[in-house]
């Protein structure tokens, strides 16, 4: 029960007027960021990072994580009212959320979305509260080989759990690793791949990549599709909220299933987007009203929203305990920790107790505050979307440029941001996934360092990665995930071979019947 005591201590840290105010500001900014195209959780936090340099680290991370919660909430508003997913993880919410809005049940859909987001996040925070200290204690005994195995698992799961071509995931990821390797090699001090250019000395900063890939890239995509907002109005009335809550209680099976899916996908870095799709798919399959999905079923809003929020929140668990983020936004928060002089990883739980528990306590408070704010302020946020895109686009571009400049006070980074924007636009259109690219830039040098240290210890013998049951089982799990697409591909092939004669005989039977 040490956790409870620590958590109460955390609440004492988080419950100052200054921190509460930052929480509310963070949630409001976050929802706005989530609603606007071109600004999302990851790049929104990246842009606002420099503004927190002057704050104490605990307050800074409280505000930044609240921006993240806000962005998670905000995505649902645009999906339901405008059929425009503000964030990739709210795509699945449009399937049933927007039909509900068209039937005049927007308030019901919004209440369901916000409440299930809240439930998902709350469950994930409870998981973090009790699991994180255990994982951290466990990870204190990790050596370089163990750390490398966790990195390996992280990246293997992108390949194993990603949708689409595994080779595109690999290409995107390795591009990130290669970009991350540019600059000073931290182990030997040699310059790599700078080709005599001084700007490349410090390498490619992933914050620039995040702002460019997600921010500029999304502006370009939005411009291309000639975005015109046309959506339903909504205000949320109290009696609808209460009725919807009553209805939601009956959907507890879906909620629990979605929470499990979300927490699992968040801790292993599958991320919020696949979690929301997977949860929607499962709900459709197991629900009694599965056939109604896509026509405005409340359950079809509950499932993806719960899972996305649970995944988004639990992605912070590996970030805090191992220093390995589960999502691009968690990676940006990790970047923040390092800038404030905190070393993420298991020692954080020993050396920075106030910080860790203050953050965890703020997750509880932030989500409660978030639920209240979004339920009451929906008309305000929907109004933002009615501002023409020709006003929003240049302002977001200016904000992105400012954000990119402030990372290193360098104009080169601003140019780089534009280049990353074009890459992001093209990659998104061709289904090259962006999160593995970003995480590879962030984690590449750390993965390399642990690999080289492990190799040095074992004198180049790869068997060190199977030298004890812990590192061995993580590596084996990673290898299975890495080759998972191959397994499913073989299965599909076998099935199509088997089904062909069956189909032929079924066809013959049909012909027989007609006679």
């Amino acid at each position: 029960m040490d956790e409870i005591v620590s958590l109460i201590g955390g609440f004492k840290v988080a419950l100052s007027w200054y921190n509460l105010a930052l929480m509310i500001v963070g949630i409001l900014l976050g929802v706005i960021i989530g609603v606007l195209p071109g600004l999302g959780g990851a790049n929104g936090v990246a842009i606002l990072l420099p503004l927190t340099f002057a704050m104490p680290p605990t307050s800074a991370i409280i505000m930044l994580s609240c921006i993240y919660w806000g962005a998670l909430f905000g995505g649902a508003i645009t999906s339901i009212l405008f059929n425009i997913p503000g964030e990739p993880w709210s795509v699945a919410t449009t399937f049933d959320g927007h039909p509900m809005a068209q039937q005049g049940r927007a308030d019901e859909a919004l209440t369901a979305a916000f409440t299930s987001s809240f439930v998902g996040a709350l469950v994930a925070v409870v998981v973090i509260t009790f699991l994180a200290p255990l994982v951290a204690k466990f990870a204190l005994q990790f050596g370089p080989a163990e750390f490398f195995s966790v990195f390996f698992l992280t990246f293997a799961s992108f390949v194993g759990m990603g949708k689409g071509s595994p080779f595109k995931v690999l290409a995107s990821m390795c591009l990130g690793f290669a970009l991350g390797a540019v600059g000073l090699d931290k182990v030997t001090g040699t310059l790599r791949m700078t080709f005599g250019h001084e700007e490349l000395l410090i390498g490619f900063d992933f914050l620039i990549a995040v702002i460019g890939l997600f921010g500029i890239g999304e502006i370009l995509s939005s411009m291309e599709s000639g975005l015109k907002f046309s959506g339903s109005h909504a205000t949320i009335r109290l009696n609808v909220v209460l009725q919807t809550w009553k209805h939601l209680l009956k959907l507890w099976v879906t909620s629990i299933r979605s929470c499990i899916v979300g927490c699992w996908m968040g801790i292993t870095p599958g991320g919020a987007t696949p979690a929301s799709f997977m949860s929607y798919g499962l709900a459709k399959r197991f629900s009694k009203r599965g056939a109604n999905f896509g026509k405005g079923e409340v359950e079809g809003v509950v499932a993806p929203e719960t899972a996305a929020h649970a995944a988004g929140t639990s992605a912070l668990l590996p970030m805090l305990t191992l220093g390995i983020p589960g999502s691009p936004t968690a990676a940006v928060l990790l970047g923040g920790l390092m800038i404030w002089g905190l070393q993420p990883g298991p020692m954080l739980f020993v050396e920075q107790k106030d910080f860790v528990w203050g953050l965890i306590a703020s997750m509880y408070l932030g989500n409660i505050a978030g639920l209240i704010i979004v339920l009451t302020c929906v008309p305000l946020f929907a109004a933002i979307l009615r501002v023409p895109f020709s006003i929003i686009a240049p302002i977001i571009l200016v904000i992105c440029a400012v954000g990119a400049y402030t990372v290193h006070n360098s104009m080169f980074d601003v140019w780089l941001m534009l280049a990353f924007g074009v890459v992001g636009y093209i990659f998104t259109k061709l289904d090259y996934p962006l999160p593995p690219l970003v995480l590879a830039i962030v984690l590449g040098d750390k993965a390399e360092e642990s690999f080289r240290q492990a190799m040095l210890a074992s004198q180049g013998n790869l068997s060190i990665f199977w030298s004890n049951w812990l590192v061995g089982s993580i590596m084996t799990l990673g290898t299975i995930l890495l080759f998972w697409p191959l397994v499913t591909w073989l299965q599909d092939k076998r099935r199509s071979l088997n089904s062909r004669p069956v189909a032929a005989s079924a066809g013959a039977a049909a012909v027989d019947k007609e006679r």
Binding site: F167, F195, E224, L227, V414, R452
Partner: protein, 170 residues
């Protein structure tokens, strides 16, 4: 998003297949650069140092090359009817934001980020958005001023400044 407006989009410019091939080729070209430099740095084992500095980029580039090659082949083989990557009009809209952004970033170096932002927002709202000039002037003035006070005064993060700021004494 608005879909199914192909009739208004004008002539298709590039197919997905072509773009897939271009991206794969660009990535392959990147691989040769990385492999070239890794070979220079050494990618083997060094006594007392472990894997040489080029070891990791070398193998990363090899995996990237293999994946890109597979992507290239699978794109080249999908000959049949290919989806459009971008048509004339949407591409024009992309350029309408990309080209002004390039000019904007180029301007920052000469006249500072605040004045450049004001010009960019104003020009974009007039030329692309066809907004009311008064409204454009308003937005173009408020945003940089707000940024100025936020960064220079409140958070003490200096941004690139030009002659106007110098004349004002900053």
């Amino acid at each position: 998003m608005q879909k199914g407006e192909d009739t208004n989009d004008g002539r298709p410019l590039v197919t997905n297949r072509t773009m897939e091939i271009v991206v794969a080729l660009v990535l392959l070209a990147g691989c040769t650069l990385v492999i070239y430099d890794s070979v220079r740095l050494g990618f083997g084992w060094r006594e007392g140092e472990g894997p040489a500095p080029g070891y990791y980029p070398f193998w990363v580039a090899v995996i990237l090359a293999v994946s890109s090659f597979i992507n290239l082949v699978s794109a080249a083989r999908s000959a049949g009817a290919s989806e459009t990557f971008v048509s004339l009009r949407p591409f024009g809209r992309v350029l309408a934001v990309l080209v002004p952004s390039l000019i904007y970033v180029a301007l920052i170096g000469y006249i500072g980020i605040y004045v450049a932002s004001a010009i960019f927002i104003f020009a974009f709202m007039i030329a692309v958005g066809r907004e009311n000039p008064l409204k454009a002037i308003g937005v173009a003035a408020v945003v940089p001023v707000a940024l100025f006070f936020m960064f220079e005064k409140w958070f003490l993060v200096p941004l690139p400044k030009g002659p106007l700021e110098a004349w004002l004494g900053y």
